[in-house]
Symmetry: C2
C-alpha cells in the first residue's frame, strides 16, 4: 500500500490515510480475485488522496472525534472519486491514469463501467455502515448529483465555440469544487452542534476545489505527458475548453475559431499551434491568477477557523496545491 510522499511531512494525516486505505481494502468484497486486485491497485496507487485528507483534517475540529466515522467518510469520498475517474476514462478513452493502465484499457469499457458502478455502491455502503447520520448521506447524494450534472453540462458544451468563462466556472463547481466542499463539510459535521464550523469548512473546500481544478486545467497545457502521466492538451483535443483557452479567447476569439471547428479531427501540429496561441495571449498567466484568487480566498477563510494544530497543515497544504507541478 503506497501513500503519496507529500504526506511524509504530516505523520498524523499519513497514518490516518493508511487507516483509510485499510478500510477501503476491507470493503472491496468483490469475489472475483483478478478484478478485486485490479480495483485495489487503482484505489491504493499512491495518489494524493486530497479529498479524504481534507475531510480528515476537518474531523479534528470535532470536540470528541469519532475516528471510525472520519475514516469511513474519507474512504467513501476516495472510492466515489475513483468511480467517477473510472467512468471518465471510459468516456475519454484514456489509456493511462496516474502512470497506470486504466481499467478500460486493461480490460474493456464494459468492465470499467461495471466496476465504477460497483464502487458507487461501496461508497454508499461505507457511509451507511459507519457514518449513519442522515445529513451526511443526504448531502453526499445531492453532491454527487452536482458532480454528474457538472460532467453532463461539460459534455453538452464540448466543441462549442460559444463556451464562456461563466460556463466553465459552473462546470468546475459541479464536477470538482462540490466534492471538495462536501469532503470538508462532512469531516467537520457534528450532528449536535450549530454546524457553523461545518459551513465554514464547506466554503473553504469550495475555494480549494476551484483552485485545484483551475490548476489542473493549466497543467493540461503546461505539463509534459511523461510527468503528468496523461497526454497534455487532452482537454482541448476532447472539446473541453478550460481557463487558459477561455482567457486567451477573451483576447482574440477569432484566431481560435478555426481550431475549434476542427473538433476531434485536429492534428498534433495544430494542437501545438493552439498551445502557442494560448501562451501568446496570456491564457496561462491569467488562469494561474484565477487559481491564486481562489487559493487566497480559501486561506482567508482558513484564518477564521479556531486555533488548532491542524490549522497550520490546512494552510500549508492549500498553498502547496497552487504551485503543484503534477
Amino acid at each position: 500500500m503506497k501513500i503519496h510522499p507529500m504526506w511524509d511531512d504530516h505523520p498524523t494525516i499519513q497514518s490516518e490515510l493508511i487507516a483509510t486505505n485499510h478500510l477501503i481494502e476491507k470493503n472491496i468484497t468483490i469475489k472475483n480475485p483478478a478484478v478485486r486486485e485490479e480495483i485495489l491497485k487503482r484505489l491504493l496507487s499512491g495518489g494524493k488522496m486530497l479529498r479524504p485528507a481534507y475531510s480528515l483534517l476537518f474531523s479534528y475540529y470535532a470536540d470528541e472525534r469519532d475516528a471510525e466515522r472520519a475514516r469511513a467518510i474519507a474512504a467513501a469520498i476516495e472510492v466515489l472519486h475513483t468511480a467517477t475517474l473510472m467512468h471518465d476514462d471510459v468516456i475519454d478513452q484514456a489509456a493511462v491514469r496516474r502512470g497506470q493502465t486504466t481499467m478500460n484499457a486493461a480490460f474493456s469499457n464494459q468492465v470499467a463501467v461495471y466496476t465504477g458502478d460497483y464502487l458507487f455502491t461501496v461508497c454508499f455502503r461505507l457511509l451507511s455502515l459507519y457514518a449513519k447520520d442522515a445529513a451526511v448521506l443526504k448531502i453526499d447524494t445531492t453532491g454527487m448529483e452536482d458532480i454528474l450534472i457538472g460532467e453532463l453540462n461539460q459534455m453538452d458544451m464540448r466543441y462549442d465555440p460559444n463556451m464562456k468563462m461563466r460556463h466553465y466556472l459552473k462546470q468546475i463547481q459541479g464536477k470538482t469544487a462540490q466534492l471538495f466542499a462536501l469532503s470538508c463539510y462532512a469531516g467537520a459535521y457534528k450532528a449536535d452542534s450549530d454546524n457553523k464550523l461545518a459551513h465554514l469548512a464547506y466554503r473553504i473546500g469550495h475555494n480549494i476545489g476551484m483552485a485545484f481544478q483551475v490548476r489542473d486545467d493549466i497543467l493540461d497545457y503546461t505539463q509534459d505527458p511523461s510527468v503528468l502521466g496523461k497526454p497534455s492538451m487532452s482537454d482541448f483535443r476532447n472539446g473541453i475548453y478550460t481557463a487558459p483557452l477561455l482567457y486567451a479567447m477573451q483576447a482574440n476569439r477569432k484566431v481560435f475559431e478555426p481550431y475549434i471547428a476542427r473538433e476531434d479531427a485536429i492534428l498534433e501540429r495544430e494542437l501545438t499551434e493552439v498551445h502557442g496561441l494560448v501562451s501568446q495571449y496570456g491564457g496561462i498567466e491569467l488562469a494561474q491568477g484565477l487559481a491564486e484568487k481562489y487559493t487566497l480566498k480559501a486561506l482567508k477563510l482558513i484564518r477564521q477557523l479556531p486555533e488548532h494544530p491542524v490549522k497550520e497543515t490546512l494552510k500549508r497544504l492549500t498553498e502547496q496545491l497552487l504551485l503543484r507541478e503534477m
Copy 2:
C-alpha cells in the same frame, strides 16, 4: 405518463404505480431540459414496473402502512433498475429497449454512462430522503453489489464453452433474483417487528426473480424482435449462455462447440442453426420447466402469507409472469 395495461385489472396497484412515477418525476432534478426529458421518457415509458409493484404489494402487509415510504422504495427500485439497464445497453451496444431508442443510441455511450450514474444517485437520494431506516439502505447497497458482481461474473464467462447450469443459476441470482428479493423484503420490512414476514417476502421475491429471468432468457430464443422490442438470440450473440442452451448442451455438448468458438463473428445463418438445435434437444421445454419450478416454489411460499386482499393479486401476478410472451 403511461402505465402498462397489465395493471388495468389491479386498480390499487395501478394508482400506487402512478404515484410512484410522480415521485420519480419529482426527483429527476437534472437541469438540462433535453437530458431530463429523455431520462423521463425512458423511466416512465409504460414498462411493467414489476419490481416496484411487488414491493408495493408487500407494503400492504404492514400494520400501519407508510405510503410515502412504500412509494419511495418502489421509486428507488425502478430508478436503480433503469440505471443498470442503461449501462447494460452501453455494454451490449443495444439500439432499442422497450421499443424506444436507447440513451447510447440516441446520444452517445458517454451520456448513457453518466445518466446511469446520475440515476444511481437519485436512487440513493430517494432512499435517504424518504426511507431512512438504515436497514433498507444497507440491504439495498449490499444487494446492488450482488447485482453488479452477477453481471461481472456473467461477463467473465462470456463465450466460455465450459459455462454450466450452476454458473448460470449463480449469475441470475446475482443479476436479477436479488433485486426482486430485496424489493419484496424492503416492501414488507417493518423496523419494529420480528421481520419474519420480511424474510418470507425475501424468499418469495427470490423465486419470482429466478422464474422471471429464466422466462426472459427463453423469450430471447422464442420471440420475434418486433414483439420483444429487441433482437432475439441476442444473448447467444453476446456470448451469454442461458438455460435453453445450457439444457440443450447437456444433451449434446459437442454439436454446439463450433458455434461457441465463432464468438462474435457468428453469422445470422449460424444463429438460426443454433436456434434449431436448441429446440431439437429440448432446451426450450426444459428451461420452461425450470421457470415453472421456481414459480411453484414462489406460489407455495405465498400461500404461507397471512390472509389479506393483496394475497390474491400476488398469486395471480406470479402465475401470469410464467406465461408472459414479452
